[in-house]
Symmetry: C2
Subunit: 162 residues, 2 copies
């Protein structure tokens, strides 16, 4: 990280940072590889469908879905178009607010989540959860919550509040 960073991060911080950034770079590829191989979905596409599968009536406003998936609305809209073409998702004006748009998980979309979840969960368990002790899980929750306080200062995304 150059001379500058070595002056400004302590050796302990430097070591933790290098491990952390390695995980941040490696994990998305591992998640995407399994999902694309087994379900022809990116992790973001799967996560979008999965969030809808947990919502009441399998329906969410696009703004709420963007918040749940840590995405901007333009990014989510782009992915929703792809998922719509594959028959997993439908968009329609929100009955309570015609300016807003709802996303609905179709029956085919729900089935896709149901059949895809086990393989994805196995990947998460094997790479992230199983190597950790219960104390590690609790530490991870606390540490990531603190980082989200900076990365998402306006509470735009929802994981922090879980």
């Amino acid at each position: 990280m150059g001379d500058g960073e070595e002056r400004w991060l302590t050796p302990e911080q430097q070591h933790a940072w290098k491990k952390f950034i390695s995980v941040v770079e490696l994990l998305p590829g591992v998640l995407d590889t399994q999902l694309q191989r087994d379900a022809d979905l990116t992790h973001f596409e799967y996560f979008t469908l999965a969030m809808l599968s947990e919502a009441p009536n399998r329906t969410l406003r696009m703004t709420a879905l963007a918040s749940l998936t840590n995405a901007t609305l333009p990014r989510l809209s782009h992915v929703a178009t792809r998922l719509e073409k594959r028959g997993y998702l439908e968009r329609s004006p929100c009955p309570e607010d015609r300016r807003a748009t709802n996303a609905l998980l179709t029956e085919a979309g729900f089935e896709k989540v149901r059949t895809t979840a086990p393989g994805h969960v196995s990947t998460v368990l094997a790479n992230v959860i199983d190597p950790l002790t219960p104390a590690d899980i609790s530490d991870l929750d606390r540490i990531m919550g603190r980082m989200l306080g900076e990365l998402d200062p306006n509470d735009r995304f929802q994981a922090k509040n879980e």
Copy 2:
């Protein structure tokens, strides 16, 4: 995460996982945004230059540089071509093994790291390090080391050994 995952992750694991995956999705954008705005570099390009800046004679074999940057050799080669065009890096056959290729940080490349480091370090401190206590740093180091044991089982990348 679908019905399947909720059966297989405990609520504590689910909460920690959702926060963690949010950080994994948000952090790269924050790092890239600052570096592209202030230095016209992606985080991966900066990290590549920074790793070379710390090496003896500012030179590394491409295979060693790939290991340090958590990258495959094809991905690194692609980025090295871009950095070479901008005058920050030069490649040449390795004198000890003509089949291997060395990457050398040029004087312009070193100067680029020197002027870019402070802004990048500030971003890392503000979003990752400063929200954490010394105990959090030590926990983060331990937890990420355990995940890397799965994500990088063959020790291809080097952060785990720091």
